[in-house]
Protein backbone atom coordinates (compact mmCIF):
# COMPACT_ATOMS: atom_id res chain seq x y z
CA UNK A 1 0.00 0.00 0.00
CA UNK A 2 2.97 2.33 0.41
CA UNK A 3 4.17 4.24 -2.62
CA UNK A 4 6.85 6.92 -2.63
CA UNK A 5 5.67 10.47 -2.85
CA UNK A 6 7.22 10.78 -6.33
CA UNK A 7 5.34 7.79 -7.70
CA UNK A 8 2.22 9.07 -6.15
CA UNK A 9 2.52 12.50 -7.73
CA UNK A 10 3.34 10.95 -11.13
CA UNK A 11 0.39 8.61 -10.95
CA UNK A 12 -1.77 11.55 -9.91
CA UNK A 13 -0.65 13.58 -12.89
CA UNK A 14 -1.38 10.73 -15.25
CA UNK A 15 -4.74 10.09 -13.74
CA UNK A 16 -5.54 13.79 -14.00
CA UNK A 17 -4.57 13.92 -17.68
CA UNK A 18 -6.69 10.88 -18.36
CA UNK A 19 -9.58 12.36 -16.42
CA UNK A 20 -9.26 15.58 -18.40
CA UNK A 21 -9.31 13.78 -21.76
CA UNK A 22 -12.33 11.78 -20.66
CA UNK A 23 -13.96 14.97 -19.49
CA UNK A 24 -13.55 16.65 -22.89
CA UNK A 25 -15.13 13.69 -24.65
CA UNK A 26 -17.85 13.37 -22.05
CA UNK A 27 -18.40 17.12 -22.20
CA UNK A 28 -19.02 17.05 -25.94
CA UNK A 29 -21.38 14.16 -25.49
CA UNK A 30 -23.19 15.77 -22.59
CA UNK A 31 -23.65 18.98 -24.48
CA UNK A 32 -24.86 17.56 -27.75
CA UNK A 33 -27.15 14.69 -26.85
CA UNK A 34 -30.20 16.94 -26.80
CA UNK A 35 -29.42 18.35 -30.24
CA UNK A 36 -29.01 14.82 -31.54
CA UNK A 37 -32.36 13.82 -30.06
CA UNK A 38 -34.06 16.81 -31.69
CA UNK A 39 -32.49 16.17 -35.09
CA UNK A 40 -33.40 12.51 -34.87
CA UNK A 41 -37.00 13.31 -33.99
CA UNK A 42 -37.16 15.85 -36.80
CA UNK A 43 -35.79 13.32 -39.25
CA UNK A 44 -38.15 10.60 -38.07
CA UNK A 45 -41.20 12.82 -38.31
CA UNK A 46 -40.42 13.93 -41.83
CA UNK A 47 -39.20 10.53 -43.03
CA UNK A 48 -42.37 8.88 -41.76
CA UNK A 49 -44.37 11.43 -43.70
CA UNK A 50 -46.41 12.43 -40.64
CA UNK A 51 -46.35 16.07 -41.64
CA UNK A 52 -46.77 17.93 -44.86
CA UNK A 53 -43.25 18.58 -46.21
CA UNK A 54 -44.51 22.05 -47.02
CA UNK A 55 -44.90 22.62 -43.29
CA UNK A 56 -41.73 20.91 -42.21
CA UNK A 57 -39.03 20.08 -44.72
CA UNK A 58 -36.73 17.22 -43.76
CA UNK A 59 -33.30 17.85 -42.23
CA UNK A 60 -31.80 16.63 -45.49
CA UNK A 61 -33.77 19.17 -47.53
CA UNK A 62 -32.70 21.99 -45.26
CA UNK A 63 -29.06 20.90 -45.42
CA UNK A 64 -29.31 20.66 -49.20
CA UNK A 65 -30.81 24.14 -49.39
CA UNK A 66 -28.09 25.38 -47.11
CA UNK A 67 -25.51 23.82 -49.38
CA UNK A 68 -27.01 25.47 -52.43
CA UNK A 69 -27.19 28.79 -50.67
CA UNK A 70 -23.54 28.62 -49.70
CA UNK A 71 -22.05 27.11 -52.83
CA UNK A 72 -24.14 28.56 -55.61
CA UNK A 73 -25.47 31.71 -54.01
CA UNK A 74 -23.81 34.41 -52.06
CA UNK A 75 -25.07 33.42 -48.63
CA UNK A 76 -21.55 33.57 -47.31
CA UNK A 77 -21.32 37.19 -48.38
CA UNK A 78 -24.67 37.87 -46.73
CA UNK A 79 -23.45 36.21 -43.56
CA UNK A 80 -20.27 38.24 -43.53
CA UNK A 81 -22.16 41.44 -44.25
CA UNK A 82 -24.58 40.75 -41.43
CA UNK A 83 -21.95 39.72 -38.91
CA UNK A 84 -19.80 42.77 -39.69
CA UNK A 85 -22.80 45.05 -39.30
CA UNK A 86 -23.71 43.27 -36.09
CA UNK A 87 -20.26 43.56 -34.57
CA UNK A 88 -19.97 47.19 -35.55
CA UNK A 89 -23.40 48.18 -34.26
CA UNK A 90 -22.95 46.15 -31.11
CA UNK A 91 -19.54 47.60 -30.38
CA UNK A 92 -20.80 51.16 -30.82
CA UNK A 93 -23.78 50.40 -28.60
CA UNK A 94 -21.58 48.79 -25.95
CA UNK A 95 -19.15 51.69 -25.78
CA UNK A 96 -21.90 54.29 -25.78
CA UNK A 97 -23.96 52.41 -23.20
CA UNK A 98 -21.08 51.82 -20.82
CA UNK A 99 -19.81 55.40 -21.14
CA UNK A 100 -23.24 56.87 -20.54
CA UNK A 101 -23.81 54.41 -17.73
CA UNK A 102 -20.59 55.31 -15.95
CA UNK A 103 -20.79 59.05 -16.56
CA UNK A 104 -24.37 59.43 -15.42
CA UNK A 105 -24.10 56.66 -12.85
CA UNK A 106 -21.71 58.63 -10.68
CA UNK A 107 -24.26 61.41 -10.15
CA UNK A 108 -27.55 60.66 -8.43
CA UNK A 109 -29.27 63.50 -10.28
CA UNK A 110 -28.15 62.38 -13.72
CA UNK A 111 -28.93 58.77 -12.97
CA UNK A 112 -32.36 59.51 -11.52
CA UNK A 113 -33.22 61.59 -14.57
CA UNK A 114 -31.79 59.46 -17.35
CA UNK A 115 -32.22 55.92 -16.11
CA UNK A 116 -36.05 55.84 -16.16
CA UNK A 117 -36.03 57.18 -19.72
CA UNK A 118 -33.67 54.46 -20.86
CA UNK A 119 -35.61 51.84 -18.96
CA UNK A 120 -38.77 53.12 -20.67
CA UNK A 121 -37.12 53.12 -24.08
CA UNK A 122 -35.98 49.56 -23.47
CA UNK A 123 -39.65 48.60 -23.50
CA UNK A 124 -40.06 50.02 -26.99
CA UNK A 125 -38.99 47.48 -29.59
CA UNK A 126 -36.14 49.02 -31.51
CA UNK A 127 -37.81 48.43 -34.88
CA UNK A 128 -40.42 51.00 -33.94
CA UNK A 129 -37.68 53.57 -34.42
CA UNK A 130 -36.71 52.26 -37.83
CA UNK A 131 -38.89 54.67 -39.84
CA UNK A 132 -37.45 57.55 -37.88
CA UNK A 133 -33.92 56.28 -38.32
CA UNK A 134 -34.33 56.02 -42.09
CA UNK A 135 -35.77 59.52 -42.26
CA UNK A 136 -33.11 61.05 -40.09
CA UNK A 137 -30.02 59.10 -40.95
CA UNK A 138 -30.62 58.13 -44.51
CA UNK A 139 -30.64 54.80 -46.09
CA UNK A 140 -27.01 54.05 -46.75
CA UNK A 141 -26.62 51.52 -44.00
CA UNK A 142 -26.26 54.09 -41.26
CA UNK A 143 -29.90 53.62 -40.30
CA UNK A 144 -29.38 49.90 -39.87
CA UNK A 145 -26.21 50.50 -37.93
CA UNK A 146 -27.88 53.11 -35.76
CA UNK A 147 -30.78 50.80 -35.02
CA UNK A 148 -28.41 47.96 -34.10
CA UNK A 149 -26.30 50.24 -31.94
CA UNK A 150 -29.39 51.71 -30.29
CA UNK A 151 -30.74 48.24 -29.63
CA UNK A 152 -27.50 47.39 -27.82
CA UNK A 153 -27.06 50.72 -26.14
CA UNK A 154 -30.11 50.55 -23.90
CA UNK A 155 -29.50 47.19 -22.21
CA UNK A 156 -25.80 48.05 -21.88
CA UNK A 157 -26.53 51.33 -20.14
CA UNK A 158 -28.97 49.56 -17.82
CA UNK A 159 -26.48 46.77 -17.15
CA UNK A 160 -23.85 49.40 -16.34
CA UNK A 161 -26.14 51.11 -13.85
CA UNK A 162 -26.91 47.77 -12.29
CA UNK A 163 -23.26 46.82 -12.10
CA UNK A 164 -22.31 50.13 -10.53
CA UNK A 165 -24.67 49.47 -7.67
CA UNK A 166 -22.96 46.18 -7.03
CA UNK A 167 -19.47 47.53 -6.53
CA UNK A 168 -18.56 46.61 -2.94
CA UNK A 169 -18.71 49.90 -0.99
CA UNK A 170 -15.40 49.17 0.68
CA UNK A 171 -13.67 49.11 -2.71
CA UNK A 172 -15.00 52.58 -3.40
CA UNK A 173 -14.03 53.74 0.08
CA UNK A 174 -10.58 52.24 -0.32
CA UNK A 175 -10.18 54.08 -3.61
CA UNK A 176 -11.36 57.37 -2.17
CA UNK A 177 -9.16 56.99 0.88
CA UNK A 178 -6.18 56.38 -1.40
CA UNK A 179 -6.87 59.66 -3.13
CA UNK A 180 -8.68 58.54 -6.30
CA UNK A 181 -11.34 60.87 -7.63
CA UNK A 182 -13.14 62.07 -10.76
CA UNK A 183 -12.00 60.62 -14.03
CA UNK A 184 -9.07 58.76 -12.46
CA UNK A 185 -11.55 56.98 -10.21
CA UNK A 186 -13.91 56.16 -13.08
CA UNK A 187 -11.12 54.90 -15.29
CA UNK A 188 -9.07 52.93 -12.77
CA UNK A 189 -11.63 51.81 -10.24
CA UNK A 190 -15.26 52.01 -11.34
CA UNK A 191 -14.77 50.68 -14.84
CA UNK A 192 -12.63 47.67 -13.90
CA UNK A 193 -14.86 46.97 -10.92
CA UNK A 194 -17.95 46.58 -13.10
CA UNK A 195 -16.32 44.51 -15.82
CA UNK A 196 -17.41 41.09 -14.49
CA UNK A 197 -21.02 42.21 -14.29
CA UNK A 198 -20.80 43.82 -17.70
CA UNK A 199 -19.92 40.52 -19.34
CA UNK A 200 -23.45 39.28 -18.77
CA UNK A 201 -24.66 42.61 -20.13
CA UNK A 202 -22.53 42.12 -23.24
CA UNK A 203 -24.30 38.88 -23.99
CA UNK A 204 -27.68 40.49 -23.44
CA UNK A 205 -26.66 43.34 -25.69
CA UNK A 206 -25.58 40.90 -28.37
CA UNK A 207 -28.93 39.22 -28.21
CA UNK A 208 -30.76 42.55 -28.53
CA UNK A 209 -28.41 43.60 -31.33
CA UNK A 210 -29.36 40.52 -33.34
CA UNK A 211 -33.04 41.29 -32.94
CA UNK A 212 -32.66 44.90 -33.95
CA UNK A 213 -30.44 44.07 -36.89
CA UNK A 214 -32.66 41.31 -38.27
CA UNK A 215 -35.72 43.52 -38.02
CA UNK A 216 -33.88 46.34 -39.73
CA UNK A 217 -32.38 44.15 -42.45
CA UNK A 218 -35.74 42.71 -43.27
CA UNK A 219 -37.17 46.13 -43.94
CA UNK A 220 -34.23 48.10 -45.13
CA UNK A 221 -31.63 46.32 -47.13
CA UNK A 222 -33.75 44.29 -49.46
CA UNK A 223 -31.54 41.43 -50.47
CA UNK A 224 -28.21 42.10 -48.72
CA UNK A 225 -27.60 40.36 -45.40
CA UNK A 226 -29.18 37.34 -43.71
CA UNK A 227 -32.32 39.32 -42.86
CA UNK A 228 -32.91 40.01 -46.52
CA UNK A 229 -32.55 36.35 -47.43
CA UNK A 230 -34.87 35.39 -44.60
CA UNK A 231 -37.48 37.85 -45.80
CA UNK A 232 -37.21 36.83 -49.45
CA UNK A 233 -37.53 33.21 -48.42
CA UNK A 234 -40.69 34.14 -46.57
CA UNK A 235 -42.06 36.14 -49.50
CA UNK A 236 -41.77 33.27 -51.91
CA UNK A 237 -42.91 30.76 -49.31
CA UNK A 238 -39.68 28.76 -49.28
CA UNK A 239 -39.78 27.37 -45.76
CA UNK A 240 -36.53 25.46 -46.29
CA UNK A 241 -34.74 28.75 -46.98
CA UNK A 242 -36.24 30.19 -43.79
CA UNK A 243 -35.06 27.19 -41.78
CA UNK A 244 -31.66 27.24 -43.41
CA UNK A 245 -31.18 30.87 -42.41
CA UNK A 246 -32.38 30.14 -38.88
CA UNK A 247 -29.83 27.34 -38.75
CA UNK A 248 -27.07 29.69 -39.84
CA UNK A 249 -28.05 32.23 -37.18
CA UNK A 250 -28.20 29.44 -34.61
CA UNK A 251 -24.74 28.21 -35.49
CA UNK A 252 -23.32 31.73 -35.43
CA UNK A 253 -25.02 32.26 -32.07
CA UNK A 254 -23.65 29.08 -30.52
CA UNK A 255 -20.21 29.73 -31.97
CA UNK A 256 -20.15 33.27 -30.60
CA UNK A 257 -21.28 32.02 -27.24
CA UNK A 258 -18.70 29.24 -27.07
CA UNK A 259 -15.77 30.90 -28.79
CA UNK A 260 -16.17 34.39 -27.50
CA UNK A 261 -18.47 34.98 -24.58
CA UNK A 262 -17.69 31.83 -22.62
CA UNK A 263 -13.97 32.46 -22.97
CA UNK A 264 -14.32 36.11 -22.14
CA UNK A 265 -16.37 35.23 -19.09
CA UNK A 266 -13.89 32.62 -17.97
CA UNK A 267 -10.98 34.97 -18.47
CA UNK A 268 -12.67 37.82 -16.62
CA UNK A 269 -13.83 35.57 -13.80
CA UNK A 270 -10.32 34.26 -13.41
CA UNK A 271 -8.67 37.64 -13.60
CA UNK A 272 -11.16 39.18 -11.20
CA UNK A 273 -10.79 36.24 -8.85
CA UNK A 274 -14.44 35.21 -9.01
CA UNK A 275 -13.46 31.58 -8.99
CA UNK A 276 -11.05 30.07 -6.57
CA UNK A 277 -7.41 29.89 -7.59
CA UNK A 278 -8.18 26.57 -9.21
Amino acid sequence: MSTGPGDRAGAGRLARARRRAAAVLMGTGRKSWFILVIVLAWWLITAAGWVDPYKLPSPGDVIATLGTLFTERALFADLIATVLRLVEGWAIGVVAGVLLGILTGTSRLLEDGIRPVIAGLQAVPTIAFLPLAILWLGFDGSAVLAITAFGTFKPMALATYGAMHQIPPTLLMAGRALGARGLFMQRTLIFPAIVPNLVTGLKMGWSFAWRALMAAEIVVTGAAGLGGVLELGREIGAIDVVMAVILVILVVGIATEQLFFTRLERWVNRRWGLVGAR
Binding site: M173, A174, A177, L178, P192
Partner: protein, 265 residues
Protein backbone atom coordinates in the same frame (compact mmCIF):
# COMPACT_ATOMS: atom_id res chain seq x y z
CA UNK B 1 1.66 70.00 24.75
CA UNK B 2 2.41 68.46 21.42
CA UNK B 3 -0.45 68.59 18.92
CA UNK B 4 -2.29 65.22 18.80
CA UNK B 5 -2.35 63.15 15.62
CA UNK B 6 -6.12 62.88 15.81
CA UNK B 7 -8.52 64.99 17.81
CA UNK B 8 -12.16 63.91 17.86
CA UNK B 9 -14.32 66.57 19.55
CA UNK B 10 -17.99 65.78 20.04
CA UNK B 11 -18.33 64.05 16.67
CA UNK B 12 -21.68 62.33 16.21
CA UNK B 13 -23.61 60.77 13.36
CA UNK B 14 -27.13 59.68 12.45
CA UNK B 15 -27.45 58.00 9.07
CA UNK B 16 -29.99 59.22 6.57
CA UNK B 17 -33.21 57.25 6.71
CA UNK B 18 -32.27 55.90 10.12
CA UNK B 19 -34.19 57.00 13.19
CA UNK B 20 -31.55 56.52 15.82
CA UNK B 21 -28.02 57.78 16.12
CA UNK B 22 -25.17 55.54 14.98
CA UNK B 23 -22.78 57.41 17.25
CA UNK B 24 -23.50 59.83 20.09
CA UNK B 25 -21.16 62.81 20.55
CA UNK B 26 -17.73 61.34 21.20
CA UNK B 27 -14.40 62.94 22.02
CA UNK B 28 -10.89 61.57 22.37
CA UNK B 29 -7.35 62.28 21.25
CA UNK B 30 -4.74 60.08 19.68
CA UNK B 31 -1.21 61.24 20.31
CA UNK B 32 1.43 60.99 17.59
CA UNK B 33 2.72 57.46 17.48
CA UNK B 34 0.06 56.21 19.89
CA UNK B 35 -1.78 52.93 19.37
CA UNK B 36 -5.46 53.29 20.29
CA UNK B 37 -8.06 50.54 20.06
CA UNK B 38 -11.84 50.88 19.88
CA UNK B 39 -13.76 47.94 21.25
CA UNK B 40 -17.49 47.48 21.55
CA UNK B 41 -20.50 45.39 20.59
CA UNK B 42 -21.59 45.06 16.98
CA UNK B 43 -23.36 48.12 15.61
CA UNK B 44 -22.06 50.50 18.27
CA UNK B 45 -20.60 52.88 15.69
CA UNK B 46 -16.93 51.89 15.60
CA UNK B 47 -16.77 51.79 11.81
CA UNK B 48 -18.72 55.03 11.65
CA UNK B 49 -16.22 56.73 13.90
CA UNK B 50 -13.29 55.40 11.90
CA UNK B 51 -14.93 56.46 8.64
CA UNK B 52 -15.26 59.98 9.98
CA UNK B 53 -11.61 60.14 10.93
CA UNK B 54 -10.72 58.83 7.48
CA UNK B 55 -12.82 61.61 5.98
CA UNK B 56 -15.12 59.13 4.23
CA UNK B 57 -18.08 60.24 6.36
CA UNK B 58 -18.99 63.73 7.52
CA UNK B 59 -19.95 64.09 11.21
CA UNK B 60 -23.37 65.67 11.83
CA UNK B 61 -21.88 67.85 14.55
CA UNK B 62 -18.61 68.20 16.39
CA UNK B 63 -15.29 68.29 14.64
CA UNK B 64 -12.39 66.05 13.77
CA UNK B 65 -8.84 67.23 13.33
CA UNK B 66 -6.00 65.24 11.88
CA UNK B 67 -2.48 66.57 12.45
CA UNK B 68 -4.05 69.86 13.49
CA UNK B 69 -6.08 70.33 10.30
CA UNK B 70 -9.90 69.89 10.25
CA UNK B 71 -10.90 66.78 8.31
CA UNK B 72 -13.14 67.51 5.34
CA UNK B 73 -12.41 64.48 3.18
CA UNK B 74 -9.90 61.71 2.64
CA UNK B 75 -6.47 63.23 2.70
CA UNK B 76 -2.77 62.88 2.99
CA UNK B 77 -1.31 61.48 6.14
CA UNK B 78 -4.22 59.13 6.80
CA UNK B 79 -4.60 55.58 5.48
CA UNK B 80 -7.18 52.92 6.19
CA UNK B 81 -7.29 49.12 6.25
CA UNK B 82 -10.63 47.29 6.08
CA UNK B 83 -11.82 43.98 7.42
CA UNK B 84 -12.22 42.46 3.95
CA UNK B 85 -8.86 43.82 2.73
CA UNK B 86 -10.75 45.52 -0.12
CA UNK B 87 -7.96 44.83 -2.58
CA UNK B 88 -8.75 45.59 -6.20
CA UNK B 89 -9.21 42.10 -7.61
CA UNK B 90 -8.13 43.04 -11.14
CA UNK B 91 -4.73 44.36 -10.04
CA UNK B 92 -1.67 42.41 -8.93
CA UNK B 93 -0.40 42.87 -5.41
CA UNK B 94 2.21 45.26 -6.77
CA UNK B 95 -0.32 47.40 -8.59
CA UNK B 96 -2.69 47.34 -5.65
CA UNK B 97 -0.03 48.77 -3.42
CA UNK B 98 0.96 51.22 -6.13
CA UNK B 99 -2.60 52.50 -6.62
CA UNK B 100 -2.58 55.31 -4.08
CA UNK B 101 0.78 56.56 -5.36
CA UNK B 102 -0.62 56.68 -8.89
CA UNK B 103 -3.65 58.60 -7.66
CA UNK B 104 -1.26 61.09 -6.11
CA UNK B 105 0.83 61.39 -9.27
CA UNK B 106 4.03 60.02 -7.76
CA UNK B 107 6.59 59.41 -10.55
CA UNK B 108 7.06 55.87 -11.72
CA UNK B 109 10.58 55.22 -10.46
CA UNK B 110 9.73 56.42 -6.96
CA UNK B 111 6.51 54.40 -7.01
CA UNK B 112 8.43 51.24 -7.80
CA UNK B 113 10.89 51.79 -4.97
CA UNK B 114 8.29 52.65 -2.37
CA UNK B 115 6.05 49.72 -3.32
CA UNK B 116 8.97 47.32 -3.08
CA UNK B 117 9.89 48.68 0.34
CA UNK B 118 6.33 48.34 1.59
CA UNK B 119 6.03 44.79 0.29
CA UNK B 120 9.28 43.81 1.96
CA UNK B 121 8.00 45.25 5.22
CA UNK B 122 4.98 42.91 5.18
CA UNK B 123 6.98 39.96 3.72
CA UNK B 124 5.10 39.91 0.44
CA UNK B 125 7.95 40.81 -1.90
CA UNK B 126 7.91 37.41 -3.58
CA UNK B 127 4.21 37.44 -4.46
CA UNK B 128 4.12 40.93 -5.94
CA UNK B 129 2.91 39.62 -9.29
CA UNK B 130 0.02 37.61 -7.97
CA UNK B 131 -3.60 38.63 -8.08
CA UNK B 132 -5.58 38.82 -4.85
CA UNK B 133 -7.45 35.57 -5.55
CA UNK B 134 -4.11 33.80 -5.53
CA UNK B 135 -3.43 34.86 -1.94
CA UNK B 136 -4.51 33.41 1.36
CA UNK B 137 -6.63 35.59 3.63
CA UNK B 138 -3.63 36.50 5.73
CA UNK B 139 -1.57 37.48 2.69
CA UNK B 140 -4.44 39.64 1.51
CA UNK B 141 -4.48 41.55 4.77
CA UNK B 142 -0.71 42.01 4.57
CA UNK B 143 -1.16 43.44 1.08
CA UNK B 144 -3.87 45.74 2.34
CA UNK B 145 -1.58 46.92 5.13
CA UNK B 146 1.21 47.50 2.62
CA UNK B 147 -1.18 49.51 0.46
CA UNK B 148 -1.81 51.76 3.45
CA UNK B 149 1.80 51.95 4.63
CA UNK B 150 3.16 52.85 1.21
CA UNK B 151 1.42 56.20 1.60
CA UNK B 152 3.66 56.80 4.66
CA UNK B 153 0.68 57.75 6.80
CA UNK B 154 1.13 59.46 10.12
CA UNK B 155 -2.28 58.08 11.00
CA UNK B 156 -3.20 54.47 10.28
CA UNK B 157 -6.86 53.49 10.64
CA UNK B 158 -7.70 49.80 10.86
CA UNK B 159 -11.27 48.42 10.89
CA UNK B 160 -11.21 44.88 12.26
CA UNK B 161 -8.33 44.03 9.95
CA UNK B 162 -7.92 40.47 11.21
CA UNK B 163 -11.43 39.39 12.12
CA UNK B 164 -12.03 37.45 8.90
CA UNK B 165 -8.94 35.31 9.48
CA UNK B 166 -8.68 32.05 11.33
CA UNK B 167 -7.33 32.13 14.87
CA UNK B 168 -3.84 30.98 13.96
CA UNK B 169 -3.26 33.36 11.07
CA UNK B 170 -4.72 36.08 13.21
CA UNK B 171 -2.24 35.48 15.96
CA UNK B 172 0.65 35.58 13.52
CA UNK B 173 -0.53 38.79 11.90
CA UNK B 174 -1.07 40.47 15.25
CA UNK B 175 2.57 39.74 16.09
CA UNK B 176 3.59 41.15 12.72
CA UNK B 177 1.53 44.27 13.21
CA UNK B 178 3.31 44.91 16.50
CA UNK B 179 6.66 44.59 14.73
CA UNK B 180 5.64 46.83 11.81
CA UNK B 181 4.22 49.43 14.14
CA UNK B 182 7.39 49.46 16.20
CA UNK B 183 9.35 49.98 12.98
CA UNK B 184 7.21 52.71 11.42
CA UNK B 185 5.45 54.25 14.45
CA UNK B 186 2.33 55.81 12.94
CA UNK B 187 -0.54 56.80 15.20
CA UNK B 188 -3.05 53.93 14.95
CA UNK B 189 -6.78 53.73 15.55
CA UNK B 190 -7.60 50.04 15.63
CA UNK B 191 -11.11 48.62 15.72
CA UNK B 192 -11.59 45.07 16.95
CA UNK B 193 -13.92 42.66 18.73
CA UNK B 194 -11.03 40.69 20.04
CA UNK B 195 -10.18 41.84 23.53
CA UNK B 196 -6.83 40.09 23.76
CA UNK B 197 -5.80 41.60 20.47
CA UNK B 198 -6.80 45.06 21.72
CA UNK B 199 -4.96 44.65 25.01
CA UNK B 200 -1.90 43.16 23.32
CA UNK B 201 -1.46 45.92 20.75
CA UNK B 202 -2.66 49.12 22.40
CA UNK B 203 -1.46 51.97 24.51
CA UNK B 204 -5.08 52.93 25.09
CA UNK B 205 -8.33 50.95 24.69
CA UNK B 206 -11.68 52.78 24.46
CA UNK B 207 -14.70 50.68 25.28
CA UNK B 208 -17.85 51.76 23.44
CA UNK B 209 -21.41 51.06 24.56
CA UNK B 210 -23.87 49.49 22.19
CA UNK B 211 -26.95 51.00 20.60
CA UNK B 212 -26.11 54.56 19.81
CA UNK B 213 -22.45 54.34 20.65
CA UNK B 214 -20.39 56.39 23.07
CA UNK B 215 -17.21 55.73 25.01
CA UNK B 216 -18.05 54.17 28.38
CA UNK B 217 -14.61 53.33 29.67
CA UNK B 218 -10.98 53.86 28.77
CA UNK B 219 -8.14 51.51 29.70
CA UNK B 220 -4.46 52.44 29.61
CA UNK B 221 -2.15 49.50 28.94
CA UNK B 222 1.19 50.10 30.56
CA UNK B 223 2.96 46.88 29.64
CA UNK B 224 6.38 47.24 28.00
CA UNK B 225 6.88 46.11 24.40
CA UNK B 226 7.42 43.85 22.64
CA UNK B 227 4.70 42.05 24.54
CA UNK B 228 3.79 38.38 24.87
CA UNK B 229 0.21 37.32 24.27
CA UNK B 230 0.28 34.93 27.20
CA UNK B 231 1.25 37.68 29.67
CA UNK B 232 -1.10 37.23 32.69
CA UNK B 233 -1.51 41.01 32.92
CA UNK B 234 -3.06 41.01 29.45
CA UNK B 235 -5.38 38.15 30.36
CA UNK B 236 -6.46 40.00 33.47
CA UNK B 237 -7.18 43.13 31.48
CA UNK B 238 -9.16 41.08 29.01
CA UNK B 239 -11.25 39.67 31.83
CA UNK B 240 -12.04 43.15 33.17
CA UNK B 241 -13.09 44.38 29.76
CA UNK B 242 -15.20 41.29 29.10
CA UNK B 243 -17.18 41.78 32.31
CA UNK B 244 -17.77 45.40 31.51
CA UNK B 245 -18.85 44.55 27.96
CA UNK B 246 -21.14 41.79 29.08
CA UNK B 247 -22.99 44.26 31.24
CA UNK B 248 -23.18 46.63 28.26
CA UNK B 249 -24.58 43.94 26.00
CA UNK B 250 -27.27 42.86 28.41
CA UNK B 251 -28.32 46.44 28.59
CA UNK B 252 -28.24 46.69 24.82
CA UNK B 253 -30.06 43.44 24.21
CA UNK B 254 -32.89 44.82 26.30
CA UNK B 255 -32.89 48.08 24.43
CA UNK B 256 -32.65 46.41 21.08
CA UNK B 257 -35.51 44.05 21.88
CA UNK B 258 -37.69 47.06 22.66
CA UNK B 259 -36.64 48.78 19.45
CA UNK B 260 -37.38 45.63 17.50
CA UNK B 261 -40.90 45.50 18.92
CA UNK B 262 -41.50 49.02 17.72
CA UNK B 263 -40.20 48.06 14.30
CA UNK B 264 -42.36 45.01 14.11
CA UNK B 265 -45.59 46.95 14.71
Amino acid sequence: MEQPAVRVSGACKTYERSDHAALLPTSFDVARGEFVSLVGPSGCGKSTLLGMIAGLLIPDAGSIEALGVPVTGPGDGRAIVFQDAALFPWLTVFHNVEYGLRAHGVPKAERRERVEDALRLVHLDDVADRHPYELSGGMRQRASIARALVMRPEILLMDEPFSALDAQTRTILTDELQRIWLETRPAVVFVTHNLIEAAFLSDTVHLLSSGPGRIVKTYEVDIPRPRDEADPALLGLRHDMLDRLRAEVDDAVLRRAQAAEVTAL
